[in-house]
């Protein structure tokens, strides 16, 4: 009788151990798999169109198109290929295009990277730079680095730029050189 009791006790112990190991494995997959899972894009999409609306007026504040989109949950980041933005307010229409882009803060900040071209439909001013940040809520566009503006009567180079889309005021810094060659 004692032998039988012993067998059954060790059997239970063994079974319990197996269950514990299985549960442990289930709850904590191998670290490699976990990292792969977390760093994988949550969403992948092609030829996307996204619109943002002004909370107060309900009007479209911007209309964003891109060839390819990948959204990453952990970094709260969305990367774009060939983003094309169009925004309109009482000061007119601006369009921005670049090779790459990033969307952060739930769509409030859009960063355009790599051969960025922005253009004002009203006065024909075009802006070229390598990085341009669009802050939707603040109604601001800024370029932290060097940029070139082409306007109808010439061109302007500067070390950085900040533009308030509501007031229509653009401030250039870190050295500004404008050349007026006459309207073309």
């Amino acid at each position: 009788m004692r032998r039988q009791g012993l067998l059954s006790a060790s059997g239970i112990l063994l079974l319990g151990l197996i269950v514990l190991m299985t549960l442990h494995e289930w709850d904590n997959p191998l670290d490699g798999d976990r990292e792969a899972f977390l760093s994988a894009p949550l969403i992948i999409a092609d030829n996307i169109t996204a619109k943002a609306y002004d909370r107060d007026t309900g009007k479209v504040s911007y209309d964003l198109k891109a060839e390819h989109l990948e959204q990453y949950q952990r970094e709260a980041l969305t990367t774009l290929s060939a983003p094309d933005l169009r925004m309109e307010n009482e000061n007119g229409v601006w369009t921005i295009h670049s090779k790459r882009g990033e969307v952060r803060d739930n769509g409030d900040q859009i960063v355009f990277l790599d051969q960025v071209e922005a253009r004002s439909e009203n006065n024909g001013v075009t802006l070229s730079t390598e990085r341009l940040e669009y802050l939707n809520d603040a109604g601001q566009v800024r370029s932290p680095g060097a940029l070139t503006l082409k306007h109808r009567d010439g061109s302007t180079r500067a070390g950085n730029m900040e533009s308030n889309l509501t007031s229509g005021e653009m401030t250039l810094g870190k050295g500004v050189v404008s050349e007026f060659t006459g309207s073309n």
Partner: protein
Amino acid sequence: AQPPGGQSVEVSADSATFEQSAGTGVYRGNAELIQGNRRMNADVIRLFTENNQLVRVEATGNPVRMREGSELQARAKNLVYDLKTRRLVLTGDAHVDHQGNTFEGARVQYNLDSRRVDASSEGDKRVRLVIPAKNTEQGTAPDNGEEGAGDGAANDNATPNPNGTDGGKAETP
């Protein structure tokens, strides 16, 4: 089409602010304007455009300095350059050295085409004109002094208004 006044204009400064709707640009900090051999240095240079063309420049400084080759040197607290009428208006301790002659007054106006100088007084700031002896010997013949009537000859012998009353105007005959 070239900007009024012929050559292209280059403006540089530490920073600048553009007002899209007003068509103005304000350049601040070591501001400099270059047009051909004309050079202006100021603290602030304000540009005004019309139909996308630069038409007017307003500069302020302590003082604003303007040079055109070796012929003209001017300084004042404020300087307005009208590219269309090709005229400079200097106000606030205005001082113009032109071909050796010196004009001082509350307000001095200089026409870039006819080279005519008009200096006028204001309050206690009277007009002062200095013509070095060398220039008087040459006896530059003054013409009738109507605006723009000059045929391009150098006519910068201004005759100060004798009574020098307020608003007295020493016009270049």
